[in-house]
Amino acid sequence: MQILKTRRFWLGAIVVAGGALTFACNRATVATGDLVGGDAASRVYVKPGEKDELYAFMSGGFSGQVSVYGLPSGRLLKVIPVFSQNPENGWGYNEESKPMLNTTFGFVPWDDTHHTELSQTDGVPDGRWLFINGNNTPRIARIDLTRFETDEIIQIPNAAGGHASPFSTPDGKYVVSATRFSVPIPNTDMPIADYKKAFKGTLSFITADVPGKLDIAFQILMPGYDYDLGHAGKGPSDGWFFFTSYNSEQANTKLETNASQNDKDYIAAVNWKRAEACIAEGKAKTSPAEYVHNYMDEKSRTAKSETKTSVKMLDPRDCVGVVYFLPTPKSPHGVDVDPTGEYIVAGGKLATVIPVHSFTKLKKAIEDKAFEKEIDGIPVLKYGSVMAGEVQKPGLGPLHTEFDGKGYAYTSMFISSEVVKWKLGTWEVVDRVPTYYSIGHLMIPGGDSKKPYGKYLVAMNKITKDRYLPTGPEMAQSAQLFDISGDRMKLLLDFPTIGEPHYAQAIPAALIKDKQVKYFKLAESTHPYITKAESDGGISRTGKQVHIKMIAIRSHFAPDNIEGVTLGDTVYFHVTNIEQDWDILHGFAVLGATTSELILNPGETKTMKWVPTKAGVYPFYCTDFCSALHQEMQGYLRVSAAGSNVVLSANISPKAQAQMAKATSGGAGK
C-alpha cells in the first residue's frame, strides 16, 4: 500500500512536471509550426550523380580558410586554403605559395577568417571572385572561382582587427575594411591609458575590380571606436557605405561592461563618392604606411610579394559631408541594406528592438542639418529624424539581417537562439524558428544583394552541443538549412562545418560550374623550373644549391634515381605534373622532409625545399593516388657525406631517351 502511495505521488509529480514542461515548450516555440517539414528529406536529397543547386562559401573562422558546400545537400565540396598553411596540399609550405602569406610582420601562417563576399556587378553577385578577410593581421584575399584558389592577398595598414570587411560596393569597384580595434596611428609605443586621446579607427576602401591589382585607394580617419560590420548602399543609396560601431564610450579595459553603458552607439554613413571628390581635390594626406601585396603570377603559378609604403588618409574634418553618425541603440553588430536600398537595418545586439533607418530621411536630415552634435568633424544626426521604424519585441540579441526580396527581413537572434522573420514597412514579426544553438550570422543566397535568390536560409550557429554524435569537448560548428519559400520557415537540415563560419554567401551553381579550369596548359607555363617533357628533367648545382627538375606522370617520376647530393646542400625539388587531364593529380613526399608534401595539379610545377641532415638513401613517392600503379610511383635520392666525390647524376628514363633521340634526329634533319 505504501508502495502504491509512493507511486501515486511520483505519478502526480511527473504529470505536474510534464505539464509545466509542455507549457514552457509551448511558450518557447510559439508560432514556429512544424520544426522539420514532412518532405524535408526529399528537399535536401541530391541523388548520387546529380548536383547541388547552389555553391555556399562559408568562412572557415579560426581555421583561416574558406569551405565550399553544396546546397541544399549540405555536402562539403572543398576547403580552399587562404590565410593558413595547409599541409594537405602544401599551401604556404611549397616555395610557390609561401610569398602569399608574407606580411610586414614576416611570414604569418594563420589568420581568422570572418566574412565571405562574392564579387558584384550592378549589386548582384556575378560569380567571378570571392573575397574573404583575415581579422587578426588585417588582410583581404581574393579567390578566383574558375580555380577555387586564393590568387591575391592585400594587407591593410593603419588597422588592427579587420572585422568590418570585405564588403563590396554594388559596382565591385571597392571592397572595404574597418578596424575592430582602434590603435595609435601610426602605431607607436604609448600608454594604453592614452586611448581616448590618441587611438583612432580607420575605414579602408580597397580597389578590387582588377585582378592582381588590389590596392588601398584611401583610408578615412575615424574616432577611436570599435568598427564592427558594414554594407554598401544600393539603388538610391548607391555611393554610400554604412559601418556599425560600438564602444563609443572609448573604454580600453573591461569592455563588456564599460563599452555597454551608452544608450546608443553609431552607424557611420560614409559618402564614398564624396570621399573620391575630396581626394581628387587633394584633400587627403599621403601618409607613410608599410603594407604588403601578394599575388599569384598567372603564367608561372608562383606568388610574388611587394611592399607598399604609403596611403592616402582622409580626415573627415577636411572633407565636409563625407561621414555622418546615425545614433543606433546598444552596440550594433550587423548593418544591412534591404534590396531596394531604402532601409538600413541595424542589429543592436543588446537592444530590445531592431532599429531601421530610412535613407530618404537620412538625406532630408542632412539637408535640414538635423544634427545633435559633432564628433571630430562628423555630424551626429538626430535618431528620430532618420529612423524609419523599430521592430518591437523581436527577441533577444538581434545580430544580423538578410532579405528574401519579397518584402521580408530575417534577423538572427543570438541570445534567444532563433531566426525572426518580419515585414519591411510594417515592422511586424510574422514568423520565428528556433536554432540549435545560439545563431550568429544567417545567410540567404543573394540575401544582401539587389536581387535575393531567396528560397533557402542558412543559420550559422555558435554552439553545437547535442546536435551530432559527440566528439569530445569540442564539437564541429553547426549550420542549419531552412526553407523560406513559404509563409513559414521550415527546418530542412543540420550539417557540420569547419572552423567557425561567421558568415557565408551562396550563389546559383550555374554561374560558376561551367567555367572551371580543368588543367593548366603546360605549353603556357612560364615557371622558371618547369619540366615540359621527360627528356628535359635533370639535376644541376650552383654552389651549395642543388636543383632537381622532375616530371610526374602516371605512374612514374623522371628522373627517379638521383645521386651526388652532399650534406650541407640545399635541395630544391621542382616537380612538374605533366598530365593534361582533369583531376589527375600527383603528390610528392620525401622521407624526413621537415615540410609538407607537394600536391600537383595537372600542368603545374611546385617546389619543395629540403636540407638533408644525415647521409643515406632517401625514398620519395607519389602521395595522391593517381593510377593502378600508384604504389610503384617512387624513386630514391642518395645523400653523401660533405666533400664526397660522388658524381652529381640523375638517371634518364627510356621515354626520355626516346624523346632525346627524336630531338637529335630531328635536329640533324634540319
Binding site: Q580, A628, L629
Partner: protein
C-alpha cells in the same frame, strides 16, 4: 563526241566540292568510353594528321596505352597521312576536270580511282590499327593473356575497361556522299541511244525513288543493329544495376527503335514477358566472346550450376553454332535451351527467384 549531260556535270562538280570539304573536317572518329572519363576521350583522324577530340586527348590516350605496351600514336610517324591530302586533292581535281570537260571516261576513271583509294585507305587504317593493337611492348606493364587492343574498323568493341567506338566522322560521310553523287552522275549520263532516250523520263522519275530507298535502307541498317552496351556506365532497365560484366547482358530494340539494355538474360526475359508489344529485335551477350551481342534466334542458352552469374538464375548464352562437345567439356552435362524456352520460363515466373517482386 558524246559528253555528259549538264546535270551529271553539276553533280560531279558537287562531288568535287565535297571531296575538298574533307580537308577541313575529320574523316574518322575513334571514341573511348570508361566510367572515369565522363567527359569523353577520343581521337579524330584527319587527312593529314590525327588529333585528340579535345586538345590533350591524344597525349592522354598515349598515356593510358603505355600501360598495355602500345606504341605511342605519333601522327608524324604515320606515312599514309602525308599521302592522303595528295590523293584527296587529286580526286577533287579530276572530278572538277570531269565536270568542266564532261568527258565520261574521266568520270568513270575517277569513280574507279575513288573506290580504289577508299579501299586502300580502309585497308591501311586496318593495317595500322592492327599493328598498334597487336604489336605490344614485351615489357608492357599490364599483360592480359590473349588480349589485343585493335580498335574496330567500324563499330564498337570492348577493350579492357574501355569501349571503343569507331565511326566515320563528317569527312568520311562527305567522301561517301561524293562517291554516291559521282556514281549517280555517271548513271544519269549513260551514253544515249534511241532506246535509252525513250526511257530517260522513266529514269528521271526513278532516281528520287532510288535515293529514298537507299536512305531508307541505310536507316534500316542502323536501327536494326543493336546499340553497343556501354559496360560500366549503363544501368539495367529492370533491376537498375550497373551493367558491368561483358559476358552477360541483353538488349531489346523496340518497334520504334528505342533501345533497352539489361545486365542479364533473365532481366531481358522478364522484361519481354511483362511487355505487351513485340520487339523489333532481341540480343544477348555471347559468353564465349564477351562484349559481342548475338540475336536471340542464333543463341543457345545454358543454365549453369555453381558460382553466380548474371542475376542469379545462372543463365548464359552462346552461339547456336557452338560445338556441343566443347560445351559439355566446359559446363558439364547441360541442356541447351532456345529463346522460346527461356521466354516460357520467364512467363511462368521461374526466373524471378533472386529479385522476387522487387
Amino acid at each position: 563526241m558524246n559528253r555528259l549531260p549538264v546535270r551529271s556535270r553539276v553533280l560531279t562538280a558537287l562531288a568535287a566540292l565535297l571531296v575538298l570539304g574533307t580537308f577541313f573536317v575529320p574523316l574518322w572518329r575513334i571514341q573511348l568510353h570508361a566510367p572515369q572519363y565522363p567527359e569523353g576521350l577520343g581521337m579524330l583522324i584527319r587527312l593529314n594528321t590525327i588529333t585528340g577530340m579535345k586538345p590533350p586527348d591524344l597525349d592522354n590516350i598515349n598515356g593510358l596505352n603505355h600501360y598495355i605496351g602500345m606504341k605511342t600514336i605519333d601522327p608524324t610517324a604515320i606515312p599514309v597521312l602525308t599521302v592522303m591530302p595528295w590523293v584527296a586533292g587529286g580526286l577533287a581535281l579530276v572530278a572538277l576536270l570531269a565536270a568542266l570537260t564532261g568527258v565520261r571516261v574521266l568520270l568513270a576513271g575517277w569513280l574507279a580511282a575513288f573506290a580504289l583509294a577508299g579501299a586502300a585507305g580502309m585497308f591501311e587504317f586496318y593495317r595500322w590499327s592492327y599493328d598498334y593493337g597487336h604489336n605490344l611492348a614485351p615489357d608492357a606493364i599490364i599483360k592480359v593473356p590473349g588480349m589485343t587492343y585493335q580498335p574496330p574498323l567500324i563499330g564498337s568493341k570492348a577493350l579492357l575497361n574501355f569501349v571503343a567506338d569507331s565511326w566515320p566522322a563528317t569527312g568520311g560521310w562527305l567522301a561517301a556522299a561524293a562517291f554516291v553523287l559521282g556514281a549517280l552522275a555517271l548513271w544519269l549520263g549513260r551514253r544515249s541511244s534511241a532506246g535509252v532516250a525513250a526511257t530517260r523520263s522513266g529514269v528521271r522519275g526513278a532516281a528520287p525513288v532510288v535515293a529514298v530507298m537507299l536512305v531508307a535502307a541505310l536507316l534500316g541498317c542502323t536501327t536494326n543493329d543493336p546499340a553497343p552496351i556501354a559496360y560500366g556506365r549503363a544501368d539495367c532497365d529492370v533491376c537498375r544495376m550497373r551493367i558491368t560484366d561483358q559476358r552477360f547482358g541483353g538488349e531489346l530494340v523496340s518497334q520504334t527503335g528505342k533501345v533497352h539494355q539489361f545486365d542479364s538474360i533473365e532481366c531481358l526475359a522478364n522484361y519481354t514477358a511483362a511487355s505487351s508489344s513485340p520487339p523489333r529485335s532481341l540480343w544477348v551477350s555471347d559468353f564465349e566472346h564477351p562484349g559481342t551481342l548475338l540475336p536471340v534466334s542464333r543463341a543457345r542458352f545454358i543454365r549453369r550450376a555453381g558460382p553466380s552469374a548474371g542475376m542469379g538464375a545462372n543463365l548464359l548464352a552462346v552461339a547456336a553454332t557452338t560445338d556441343t562437345t566443347a560445351l559439355r567439356a566446359k559446363f558439364g552435362e547441360v541442356t541447351a535451351m532456345s529463346w522460346d524456352d527461356i521466354r516460357a520460363l520467364a512467363v511462368r515466373g521461374a526466373l524471378r527467384e533472386r529479385f522476387g517482386d522487387a
